[in-house]
């Protein structure tokens, strides 16, 4: 194991997103504040409570999860694609680093970004609307798991994509709709039966409900299933992204 090389790449990946924090950290906080202000405070007058929780509080775990997973995905996918398109990848591929080391360093970089963004929105919720945190340890574990899973997914997408257009398509047509349809702003019991059934095949539904349980103590699905789904996603995306990196099929000729 090339520990110095591995930790250097992690530092580079983390340093990369912190160096442009106005693009990578602040927007999540601003949009979350706007969601709280616009959706929360305006709709709270019409939807008083869901599962005994005030509406503004109810949407916050979903916002934490959306920030976590979109940032984790964006970090690895954009960094990998950028490296491919801007000829930076050869610097890594000609260095004495294994595919496993490169993949793990990328995943850790994306996980850090996902966690930073998720935890900042959590703090925003605690400070701004006095959100209670039912199980802090469970919440952090959940943010970590989801960050890791979606960071791995981003690495997979970054390797598979050949252009920004392809990457944007995957994010805009799959990730964002699945996030919104995962129950950020509603409980699935407010939906018709067919839509409830459909929601059950959306993995992000389990992520949102998992963190809703660890923070507010309420959830549409049993927390055990949410943890299991998060673990399954984490393992699947981690193995897939590492496999693709170690074989080099999409990054070497």
């Amino acid at each position: 194991m090339n520990w110095v090389g591995f930790s250097t790449l992690i530092k580079r990946e983390v340093g990369r997103f912190f160096s442009v924090y106005r693009q990578t950290v602040l927007p999540g906080l601003i949009t979350s504040s706007l969601y709280i202000a616009i959706f929360g405070f305006t709709l709270e007058q019409r939807i008083a409570e869901i599962q005994g929780v005030p509406y503004t509080l109810f949407i916050l775990p979903g916002l934490i999860m959306m920030n976590t997973l979109t940032n984790a995905t964006a970090n690895t996918s954009s960094s990998m694609l950028q490296m491919k398109l801007l000829q930076q990848l050869p610097d890594l591929l000609t260095a004495p680093l294994s595919g496993l080391e490169i993949a793990l360093a990328y995943i850790i970089g994306g996980t850090v970004r996902g966690m930073v963004n998720g935890i900042l929105v959590l703090i925003l919720g605690v400070v701004l609307i006095k959100m209670p945190v039912y199980d802090l340890f469970g919440t952090i574990v959940f943010i970590f798991l989801v960050s890791w899973a979606f960071s791995s997914m981003g690495l997979l997408l970054g390797q598979l994509s050949e252009s920004w257009d392809q990457l944007a398509m995957m994010q805009n047509f799959f990730l964002t709709p699945l996030s919104f349809l995962g129950g950020i702003f509603y409980s699935i019991y407010m939906l018709p039966d067919w839509a409830q059934t459909l929601s059950l095949i959306n993995p992000i539904y389990y992520m949102i409900n998992g963190i809703r349980y660890t923070t507010l103590g309420v959830s549409d699905s049993p927390v055990f299933i949410s943890y299991t789904m998060a673990l399954i996603l984490t393992l699947c995306f981690t193995f897939a992204s590492i496999y693709l990196m170690t074989t080099g099929k999409r990054i070497k000729q």
């Binding site: 090389g5 801007l86 050869p90 591929l93 260095a95 004495p96």
Partner: protein, 307 residues
């Protein structure tokens, strides 16, 4: 280590239905300055990219100091520093930091890398730009940065893919001098180029590659003597008709008191020609000799110009 620094045997590579390498064999000794000479698309970059792990090979053996470049990739890659032909672009970090990162990938911590980074920035005239981003550098500076990146982990083997492509004459000469210094310091250098002058001036040995095959390999001076055709042009005082019988063993053309000889080895041929003309009492007005070059060798071997 008595193993060759680089050993390539029967290297084959195809991109879809295009055969880029058709069984390339190259052996480079430790401390040698070796040139891989060929036109664009000849297979130079593919060869070095396979050696450094950027491209998969279809077949063949690639070794660095006796170790397989795939099985023992950590060892082989740590021995090689590569300056790629194409510039990489980084929007995020200043060039000094990029050099520290590059050293880190090779297992060198920042504190240990610091003296090397400073001396490289100094030697390559980039000290004042250490806090600049890559996009703020000129083309020549980017080329120098590529070289700094290749050298930051003090590799035994330096691979330079067209290192002076697109740089002005002054910088080219400066880079050549630096490469000579590195060679004198014991580094093994593999240079790919399509600049004839570069290969002739710097290399101990060259291999001429075209269409994925090594056509000829050897000392550039010996190759040019053995294979290159040089021209000797002699102007004589009066028109003579007996030249054909005098120069039966030579390839020459004659027109209006001007004889042009095409010879393999002008150093050997010229005294002989002068002797024959003197013995025939033919008065020589002027002699002009065009030296043979690797370009002539390439022309002889492939029937086409190198660039």
């Amino acid at each position: 280590m008595n193993e060759p620094a680089i050993e390539i045997n029967g290297l084959k590579k195809s991109y879809h239905d295009v055969e880029a390498l058709k069984g390339v064999n190259i052996e480079i000794s430790k401390g040698e300055f070796f040139g891989l000479l060929g036109p664009n698309g000849a297979g130079k970059t593919t060869t070095i990219n396979i050696l450094t792990g950027l491209v998969f090979k279809d077949n063949g053996i690639t070794k660095v100091f006796g170790k397989d470049t795939v099985k023992d990739f950590r060892f082989t890659r740590s021995k090689i520093g590569i300056a790629a032909q194409e510039f990489s672009v980084d929007w995020f970090f200043p060039i000094e930091k990029l050099l520290f990162y590059q050293a880190g990938y090779y297992g060198i911590k920042k504190a240990s890398a610091e003296p090397t980074v400073n001396s490289l920035l100094d030697r390559l005239g980039l000290s004042k730009k250490r806090n600049a981003r890559l996009r703020q550098l000129s083309g020549g500076m980017k080329r120098r940065f590529q070289l700094a990146k290749a050298l930051v982990h003090d590799p035994d083997i330096i691979i330079l893919d067209e290192p002076t492509a697109g740089v002005d004459v002054e910088l080219r000469r400066d880079l050549w001098q630096y490469l000579r210094d590195l060679h004198n310091a014991g580094k093994t250098i593999l240079l790919t180029t399509h600049y004839i002058e570069e290969a002739e001036l710097l290399c101990d040995r060259v291999a001429i590659i075209d269409e994925g095959k090594i056509l000829k390999e050897g000392d550039p001076k010996i190759l040019t003597q053995e294979l290159g055709s040089a021209g000797i042009t002699i102007n004589i005082a009066e028109n003579k008709s007996e030249l054909k019988s005098l120069f039966q063993d030579f390839k020459f053309t004659y027109e209006d008191k001007r004889i042009h000889f095409s010879v393999k080895n002008p150093d050997k041929a010229l005294p002989k020609i002068i002797d024959i003309l003197s013995n025939a009492n033919i008065h020589i007005k002027s002699i002009k000799s065009n030296k043979s070059s690797l370009e002539d060798v390439f022309l002889d071997l492939t029937g086409k110009k190198i660039s």
